[in-house]
C-alpha cells in the first residue's frame, strides 16, 4: 500500500540499523512519547534490531492509559442513567473504573455506543432529542480538534441534549514534568508525530534548550521510529540538543492553524490529573465558560466523584518510564487484558498490553 509499504521496507530498516550500529558508542535511554509508537515498536519487535546500548522507554502518550480513574467512574455513572446515551471511542469501553467498566454497564442495559467520529455523537443527539447524549472526550492534542468540532457543531445546531465529558491532556507539560523529576533519567525524546501534526513543534524548542535534550518529532511506522532513534543518537553522540523533525511528510513547524484556532475557541488550558502520575499543572484542556452548557461534569453534577487507584498496579511508574511492565508483580497474573488492573493493560496502545501481546513474557 502506497505511503505505508515504503515505511515498512526491510531494506531501509536494514540500512537504518546498520547506521545506528555505526554511530552508537555509548548507552542511551530514549523515550517514545506516544502509545502508537510503543505499539509499532512491540508489533515489529524493533528492540530486537536496535544496538544493545540503546534502550527505549515507553512514555505516557496513550490517551486511554492516562485518563484518570475518576473520569471512568464518571462515565460509568452517566451510562447507568436510563435517559443518557453515552458515546465513546472503542478502546475506552474496556478501561476499568474503580468497580466496573463501560462494557459491563452496557451488558446491564446501559445505552453505551461505540462511535468512530465525534460527529456521529452529534447525529445521535439530533436523532434522540428526548435523551441526553454525552460524548466521552479523552485524548491528546490529536483528538482534541475533533472533540472541539463536536462542541462547535452542537452550538451551531443549537443542540440542548448534547454534552462532553472532557478529559483532554497535553504533551509538552507532561514531557516537562518527566524532565524535572529527579527519578527519571531519559536522555532523548521521540515526540508524538500526530500531536505535532496539529500543534506544530514550536512548543518543544524551549524544552530542548532548557533541559539540554534532543527532541525528535517522529512518525509511527517502523522506518520512522528507527529514523527517529538514529537522529536522536546522532545528536546525543555529538552533544547536541535540538528539536528535529523526522515526520516531515506530515508535520510542519506551525501545525494545523485552523485546528489550533478551533481549539482556542472551544478550550482553555487547565491543570489535569493523569492516571498513575498525578496532577500536572497546565497539562489539559477544559471547555471555556462560554461553552459550559456542553460540559457534562457541570450538567450532571459529577464534580464530587473521587476515587483511589489500585495499590499493587505500578501503571504510574510504567507510564513515567521508571519500570518495564514485566517488572510489575501483577503483570500477567492478577493483571491481564481480560482483567486489567491498570489502564496500560487495556488499550492496544498501552505499554503493558503491548508487552503482554507481543513479547515473550518470561
Amino acid at each position: 500500500m502506497k505511503y505505508i509499504d515504503e515505511f515498512r521496507n526491510a531494506e531501509l530498516i536494514g540500512n537504518l540499523v546498520k547506521k545506528l550500529l555505526q554511530v552508537t558508542t555509548q548507552n542511551w535511554k530514549i523515550m517514545e512519547v506516544c502509545g502508537g509508537q510503543t505499539h509499532t515498536i512491540l508489533k515489529y519487535n524493533l528492540e530486537e534490531l536496535l544496538p544493545k546500548k540503546i534502550s527505549l522507554i515507553h512514555g505516557p502518550g496513550c490517551p486511554v492509559c492516562v485518563t484518570p480513574l475518576e473520569f471512568i467512574d464518571k462515565a460509568i455513572a452517566l451510562a447507568e442513567q436510563s435517559d443518557i446515551i453515552l458515546t465513546s471511542f472503542g478502546d475506552m469501553l474496556r478501561v476499568p473504573g474503580s468497580k466496573s467498566d463501560l462494557l459491563n454497564v452496557k451488558a446491564q442495559g446501559g445505552d453505551v455506543r461505540m462511535i468512530y467520529s465525534t460527529l456521529d455523537a452529534i447525529k445521535i443527539a439530533e436523532e434522540n432529542q428526548n435523551k441526553e447524549v454525552v460524548f466521552f472526550g479523552v485524548g491528546f492534542e490529536t483528538t482534541a480538534p475533533a472533540n472541539a468540532m463536536a462542541v462547535y457543531e452542537a452550538q451551531r445546531r443549537n443542540l440542548k441534549n448534547f454534552s462532553v465529558l472532557c478529559s483532554h491532556v497535553l504533551v509538552p507539560p507532561a514531557i516537562e514534568a518527566l524532565l524535572s523529576s529527579s527519578e527519571v533519567s531519559i536522555q532523548g525524546f521521540l515526540a508524538a508525530g500526530h500531536v505535532c501534526t496539529v500543534m506544530g513543534y514550536e512548543q518543544y524548542i524551549p524544552l530542548a534548550e532548557k533541559y539540554k535534550i534532543p527532541i525528535v518529532i517522529t512518525g509511527f511506522e517502523p522506518v520512522d521510529i528507527l529514523n527517529g532513534v538514529l537522529l536522536s543518537v546522532i545528536q546525543l553522540e555529538s552533544g547536541k540538543y535540538e528539536v528535529e523533525n523526522q515526520y516531515k511528510r506530515v508535520v510542519t513547524k506551525e501545525g494545523n492553524v485552523q485546528a489550533k484556532k478551533l481549539l482556542d475557541e472551544i478550550f482553555e488550558v487547565t491543570d489535569r490529573k493523569w492516571r498513575g502520575i498525578g496532577t500536572i499543572p497546565n497539562s489539559g484542556y477544559k471547555l471555556r465558560d462560554r461553552y459550559s452548557a456542553f460540559d457534562a461534569e457541570l450538567k450532571f453534577n459529577l464534580k464530587n466523584i473521587e476515587v483511589e487507584e489500585s495499590k499493587i498496579c505500578i501503571a504510574g511508574k510504567v507510564l513515567q518510564g521508571l519500570k518495564k511492565p514485566f517488572e510489575c508483580s501483577a503483570f500477567g497474573k492478577e493483571c491481564s487484558p481480560e482483567h486489567p488492573l491498570g489502564a496500560p493493560m487495556v488499550s492496544t496502545e498501552g505499554a503493558c498490553a503491548a508487552y503482554f501481546h507481543y513479547s515473550k513474557r518470561n
Partner: protein, 352 residues
C-alpha cells in the same frame, strides 16, 4: 461471582469467572469465549467427543464415521456486501463439516424471527439458502420456525446443524499436527469482517470489499484426493487466523512459525484495517481454510488448492515447530520476530 447463589436444578456451584454477566466479548472467539466454553459448558457437558473441540463432532455409527456440527448466525446487518445471513448459515455449517474431512450431506435450519421482519427479506434469505445448498450439494432436510416479540431479536437469527460422512482413510484432528508440517492458507484474509463493518450504519466507510462467504467442501474433497496426509483443517472464522493458529498450537502442544509476507491480503482490506486500527490477523473469514499438511505433499497440495476457485490465492504461510510450544511466532515484514497472541475479547478501534 457469589458462590452462594444456587438456581433450581443447578447442583454444583457456578464456577468462578471474572465477570458476573455475559459480555459481547464472550462471543468474540478470543480468550473470554474460551473461558466461557471451558468453565461453563465443558465443565458440565464434557465427554470424549465434545472435548476434542473440533469444528465438527466425530461419531462412529456401526462402521460409518459421521461428522456432526451446529452453528448459529446472528450477523448484523443481515444483508451485507457479498452475501446475506442465509447463505452464510448454509456455508458456515457446510464448512465446519468439511473441516473434519467430511462430505456434507444433510442440514437442518432453525429460524428465530423478530416480529415485523418484511416477508420480502425472508423470501430473499430463503432463496439464497436454497441456492447455497444447491451449490454445496447438501439437502436441507428439517427445520423449525419461531417468532419473537418486536425488540427481542435482531430481525432474524438462524441456526443450522449438519451431518456429513467421513471416508475411512481420512484422519483430520488438531492432535495429528506434527513438527515440520507446512501450513497452507487458502486465500486472502479479513474480507468478511471488513465487509460487515463497512456495511454497519455507524461507520461511514465506503468500500468495494465483499464478504468471502463460500462453500469449501469441494476444495477439501479435491485436497483429500491429492493426498490424505492432511493433518489438520480449520476455517478461520470468528477471531481470524491468529485465533485458529493459537488454538492448534495449544491443542497440539507444538509451536507455530509464520511469515507475515506470505499471508495474502487484498490492498483495500489492508487499507481499511490501517484506517480502523485493526489487525487483519484477528478479523473473520467465511470462505477460507488453513491446512496443516505433511511437508512431503505440501507443494502438490498447494497446486491443487490453487486450481480451485476458492483456493486460487493459496499460500504456504508457515511451519509447525518443536520450539516455542503453544506459541505462534511471526516473522514480520521487516525481518523481526514477534508473538501473535490470542486476543482477549473483540478488537476495539483505537482512539487515534
Amino acid at each position: 461471582m457469589n458462590e452462594k447463589i444456587k438456581y433450581d436444578g443447578l447442583t454444583c456451584p457456578i464456577p468462578k469467572s471474572d465477570y458476573n454477566r455475559v459480555l459481547l466479548a464472550h462471543g468474540g472467539g478470543g480468550t473470554l469465549s474460551h473461558q466461557l466454553i471451558n468453565k461453563i459448558f465443558l465443565s458440565q457437558f464434557g465427554n470424549e467427543i465434545l472435548n476434542t473441540l473440533h469444528d465438527s463432532a466425530l461419531i462412529n455409527v456401526d462402521s460409518n464415521r459421521l461428522a456432526f456440527t451446529t452453528d448459529s448466525y446472528v450477523v448484523h446487518p443481515i444483508f451485507f456486501p457479498g452475501g446475506n445471513i442465509g447463505e452464510l448459515a448454509v456455508y458456515g455449517t457446510v464448512n465446519d463439516l468439511a473441516m473434519a474431512g467430511a462430505k456434507p450431506l444433510f442440514i437442518s435450519v432453525g429460524f428465530i424471527i423478530e416480529e415485523g421482519l418484511e416477508i420480502e427479506e425472508l423470501w430473499k434469505i430463503t432463496v439464497s439458502m436454497k441456492l447455497a445448498a444447491e451449490k454445496a450439494n447438501v439437502k436441507i432436510v428439517t427445520g423449525d420456525t419461531k417468532v419473537v416479540d418486536k425488540g427481542k431479536g435482531d430481525k432474524i437469527f438462524i441456526n443450522t446443524s449438519g451431518i456429513g460422512i467421513i471416508s475411512p482413510d481420512v484422519s483430520i484432528n488438531p492432535v495429528n499436527c506434527k513438527p515440520g508440517d507446512k501450513i497452507i492458507l487458502s486465500g486472502k484474509i479479513a474480507e468478511h469482517g471488513i465487509a460487515i463493518m463497512s456495511a454497519r450504519e455507524n461507520l461511514e466507510f465506503e468500500s468495494a470489499i465483499k464478504s468471502d462467504t463460500a462453500p469449501l467442501n469441494f476444495l477439501v474433497e479435491q485436497m483429500l484426493q491429492t493426498s490424505n496426509k492432511i493433518h489438520v483443517l480449520r476455517d478461520p472464522t470468528r477471531g481470524g487466523i491468529a485465533t485458529v493458529l493459537n488454538e492448534i498450537a495449544a491443542q497440539s502442544n507444538l509451536g507455530i512459525s509464520i511469515e507475515q509476507e506470505k499471508i495474502p491480503i487484498a490492498e483495500d482490506v489492508k487499507a481499511a484495517c490501517e484506517i480502523l486500527g485493526l489487525d487483519p490477523l484477528y478479523i473473520a473469514n467465511e470462505g477460507k481454510l488453513i491446512a496443516f499438511v505433511d511437508p512431503e505433499v505440501a507443494d502438490k497440495m498447494l497446486k491443487t488448492m490453487r486450481s480451485n476457485e476458492f483456493g486460487k490465492d493459496s499460500s504456504i504461510i508457515g511451519v509447525v515447530t518443536n520450539e516455542n510450544p503453544k506459541t505462534v511466532i511471526m516473522k514480520t515484514s521487516i525481518g523481526s520476530n514477534r508473538i501473535v497472541d490470542m486476543i482477549s475479547g473483540e478488537q476495539l478501534p483505537r482512539i487515534c
